[in-house]
Amino acid sequence: MSFLFGQRPQPSSAEKIAAAEAEVEMVSDMFNRLSDSCHRKCVPADYREGELNKGESVCLDRCASKFFDVNIKVSEKMQSQAAAGGGAGGMGAMGGI
């Protein structure tokens, strides 16, 4: 997911740690979502055997690959929108603080 963090200069060392942490968290959040979606889409919930069969294994591989592609597409889209100026929200200041 490093492509999401490539643009900004990152000066101080506390900030470097924070950025690295944010990246790790992002990557693992993304993996968890991929894992949830792909298990749901590829592994039927009846559990007849403990092994992954051939069909399930291939499905998981392709599912991971497609999830990754979606991630890249979305990221590219957001970067081009951001470059085109504004758009795409940003979670601005929410709520009443």
């Binding site: 979606s37 929200g89 979670m91 929410m94």
Partner: protein
């Protein structure tokens, strides 16, 4: 003063995290809704089209909801009806 800076810095982290959260929920939602064919390992053109429209729609929806949310929040704080303000 320092308290404010501390709070500021934490709020920035929070905002970053919020944005990440919107981003990754969006990826999952559009993936779940648009991709259901696992006979190939690359996105089909119709899946890619679906993803692009999904992202557009999701962001527009999120912006709209944010605006409403802020209006409703402001309104509620102003009225303070039955609800003790801070």
């Amino acid at each position: 003063m320092q308290e404010q800076r501390e709070l500021q810095s934490r709020l920035e982290k929070k905002q970053m995290k919020d944005f990440m959260g919107v981003y990754s929920r969006l990826v999952q939602r559009c993936f779940d809704d648009c991709v259901n064919d696992f006979t190939s390992k690359s996105l089909l053109p119709k899946e890619e089209g679906c993803i692009m429209r999904c992202v557009d729609k999701y962001f527009k929806g999120t912006e709209r909801l944010q605006t409403r949310f802020q209006e409703l929040n402001a309104q509620m704080v102003q009225q303070g009806n039955a609800l003790p303000g801070r």
